[in-house]
C-alpha cells in the first residue's frame, strides 16, 4: 500500500467559490521523491496542508501510513509528516538553533537525554553542529532552512514535505538545501514530497505531478514531463534550460535524446556528439 494515499480529494477555502482542489487522487510510495509543480494558485500548497490535517478536506479520503486522516488521528499523522515551509524566518520557533530543533521533540514529550542526542544527530546530519547555539538572526536563509530540516528529521518522520522550501532562497541557498535533501535520501531512503516551481528541484525527483487549477493534469518522470515543453509554458511554468536548448536544437535538425538531461548531462551529450561526428 502506498505511504500517502489520496483519493478523490476536494477542498475549497471558505471565502472562495472556486474549489482549490478538485478530485485529486495521488499515491506516493515509501522511499519515493515526488515533486508537485504548478503555477501560483494551482493548489500545490493546499494539497500539502491537506495531507497532515492543517486543512480539512471537504470530501475524499487521505490516508498516511495506513492511518486515515481524521480528527483523532491528526496528531499521529503529523508525527509521520514533517513540513518545511516557505519562509525561513516564520517557522523558526526556538531562540537558538538547538532550541528550534528541539521544539518538535518537546511537543512530543521526548525525554531530555534522548532529546539531546537526537538534536545533536539531526544537526550533524544537516551539517549545522557548529551553529548549535547561534541565534536565527545570525544565519543565512539556506542555513535556516537546514535547521528547519533538522527540526523535522529529529522527529524521525516517514515523509518530509518541502512546501516551496527553496523559493525564498538565493541560488546558493537553494543548491545547499537540494544537495542536503539528496544526501538525506541516500542515507535514510526518506519519502520526499516537494511542492515547488523550481524546475531544478522538480528535475531531481523520481516523479513529477503537474497541478493546474486544483486538478492533476499530468504525472510522470521528470523526463516525460519536461519534454512537453510547450504545454508547460502554456501552464505558466518554466522549462529547464537544457530542455529548451534541446527543443531548439531539435528544430534546427539535430537528433536529441528523449529523456531528461540536466545541464551537465546535456553538455556531456553535446561534446560526445561532436566528437563522434
Amino acid at each position: 500500500m502506498a505511504l500517502i494515499d489520496i483519493e478523490h480529494l476536494n477542498f475549497a477555502y471558505p471565502d472562495q467559490t472556486k474549489p482549490a482542489l478538485r478530485d485529486v487522487s495521488l499515491q506516493v510510495n515509501a522511499g519515493e521523491w515526488v515533486a508537485i509543480i504548478g503555477h501560483n494558485g494551482s493548489g500545490k500548497s493546499t494539497l500539502a496542508k491537506n495531507i497532515n490535517g492543517l486543512l480539512a478536506p471537504a470530501s475524499g479520503q487521505v490516508t498516511v501510513a495506513g492511518l486515515p486522516l481524521t480528527e483523532a488521528n491528526v496528531w499521529a499523522i503529523r508525527e509521520k509528516v514533517g513540513i518545511v515551509f516557505q519562509n525561513p524566518d516564520n517557522q523558526f520557533v526556538g531562540a537558538t538553533v538547538q532550541d528550534d530543533v528541539a521544539f518538535g521533540l518537546e511537543n512530543r514529550a521526548v525525554p531530555r537525554p534522548e532529546m539531546v542526542t537526537r538534536v545533536h544527530d539531526a544537526l550533524a546530519q544537516v551539517n549545522m553542529l557548529d551553529f548549535a547555539t547561534r541565534e536565527p538572526a545570525r544565519l543565512s536563509g539556506g542555513q535556516k532552512q537546514r535547521v528547519a530540516i533538522a527540526g523535522i528529521i529529529a522527529q524521525r518522520p516517514e515523509i518530509i514535505i518541502l512546501d516551496e522550501a527553496t523559493s525564498m532562497l538565493d541560488p546558493a541557498g537553494r543548491a545547499e538545501v537540494l544537495t542536503l535533501i539528496q544526501q538525506l535520501r541516500a542515507q535514510t531512503n526518506m519519502t520526499v514530497l516537494s511542492i515547488t516551481h523550481d524546475v531544478d528541484e522538480a528535475a531531481s525527483a523520481d516523479r513529477v505531478v503537474l497541478l493546474n487549477d486544483g486538478e492533476i493534469v499530468e504525472s510522470g518522470t521528470p523526463a516525460e514531463i519536461f519534454t512537453h515543453g510547450e504545454e508547460l509554458l502554456a501552464l505558466g511554468l518554466d522549462v529547464p534550460y537544457p530542455e529548451r536548448l534541446k527543443a531548439a536544437l531539435r528544430r534546427a535538425g539535430a537528433t536529441m535524446p528523449k529523456d531528461y538531461l540536466d545541464e551537465e548531462g546535456l553538455v556531456n551529450y553535446l561534446w560526445t556528439l561532436h566528437s563522434t561526428m
Binding site: 514533517g82 519562509n87 517557522q91 531562540a95 528541539a102 521544539f103 518537546e106 511537543n107 532529546m115
Partner: protein, 264 residues
C-alpha cells in the same frame, strides 16, 4: 535599537555569569528588599562594599554600571532634593520660608541617593550577566507554582521566548519597510514633532500587517510540528543549581545578618 533591548547582555564567563539565572533573579529581588533595612552609615557602607564585590566578581567595567544610572539621574536628583528640603530635624544650615536644609535632610538625601545607585547597580548586574532568554526561563521556573491556580505559566513563557526571538526579525523588517517608504518619498526623522509622528504611520501599518502574517505562519509551523499547548511537553533547556548558587544564597543570608547587626 537592537542594542537598546538586547545589547544589555555582555557575554562573559565570570562567576556571576555562571550563576543560575533563578539565583540571580531571586538574589536581586532579595537585595532590593533588604537594602531598605539599611538606615545608617555603617549599614550603607556594608551594602556598598557587598555591591562592589559583586561588580568585581562579574569582571565588567564600572563604566557600564554608571551608564545604567544615567537615564535615572533626574529622577534620583529630584527625589534627593525632596528629601533634603523637606526633612526636618537636627542642625539647620539654611532656611528660606518653609524650605530648610537640615542635618537630617542631608543625611537622608545621601542615603536615598546611595539606595538608588545601589539598586540600579544590582539590577544592571542582573541584565548585564544574564541572557534575556535565561531570564525568561528563570521567570517560568520560579512562577511554576502558579500553574496550580490556573496561571498558564508555560504558555506565557513560550510567548515571551518567541517575542525575544522575533525582536531582531522585526527590526530587520522595520529597516526594510523604512527603506521602501523612503524610496517612496517618506521623510523620517525631520520636521516638527507632529510631522515626525505622521511619518511613522506608513511605517507602523505595514509592520503591523506583517506581524500578523508572521504570527499566522508561525502558528501553522508550530501546529505542523505537533504543538498542542503547554501541558505534557518536555523541556530541552534545563536549569540546574550548582555549588556557586548555594554560595550566593549563603552570602545573601550573611549580608542580612550583617545588616541587622549594623543598623541603628
Amino acid at each position: 535599537m537592537t542594542k537598546l533591548l538586547l545589547g544589555r547582555y555582555l557575554p562573559g564567563d565570570s562567576w556571576v555569569h555562571r550563576l543560575d539565572p533563578r539565583t540571580k533573579l531571586m538574589a536581586s529581588f532579595y537585595y532590593i528588599g533588604i537594602i531598605f533595612l539599611a538606615n545608617n552609615w555603617q549599614s550603607y557602607l556594608l551594602m556598598f562594599v557587598a555591591t562592589m564585590v559583586m561588580v568585581a566578581l562579574s569582571k565588567i567595567k564600572l563604566g557600564f554600571f554608571l551608564r545604567g544610572v544615567r537615564p535615572m539621574i533626574w529622577l534620583i536628583l529630584f527625589t534627593v532634593a525632596l528629601q533634603i528640603f523637606f526633612t526636618k530635624g537636627g542642625t539647620v544650615y539654611w532656611s528660606w520660608g518653609w524650605l530648610a536644609i537640615t542635618q537630617y535632610g542631608l543625611t537622608n538625601g545621601a542615603f536615598i541617593f546611595m539606595r538608588f545607585v545601589l539598586i540600579i547597580f544590582v539590577s544592571t548586574l542582573l541584565t548585564l550577566t544574564t541572557q534575556p532568554l535565561s531570564l525568561a526561563d528563570a521567570v517560568e521556573s520560579l512562577l511554576k507554582p502558579l500553574r496550580r491556580i490556573g496561571v498558564p505559566v508555560t504558555e506565557l513563557a513560550l510567548v515571551l521566548q518567541i517575542a525575544l526571538r522575533f525582536v531582531p526579525t522585526l527590526m530587520d523588517q522595520t529597516t526594510k519597510i523604512m527603506n521602501a517608504q523612503r524610496a517612496r518619498g517618506v521623510d523620517f526623522g525631520s520636521g516638527n514633532l507632529f510631522q515626525q509622528m505622521k511619518a511613522v504611520v506608513p511605517l507602523l501599518i505595514p509592520l503591523f500587517v506583517d506581524s500578523f502574517g508572521i504570527a499566522e505562519d508561525l502558528a501553522t509551523a508550530m501546529d505542523a510540528r505537533g504543538y498542542q499547548g503547554g501541558d505534557g511537553r518536555t523541556k530541552f533547556r534545563i536549569l540546574q543549581y550548582h555549588q556557586p548558587d548555594i554560595v550566593a544564597g549563603l552570602a545573601m543570608v550573611l549580608l542580612t545578618v550583617g545588616l541587622v547587626f549594623l543598623r541603628a
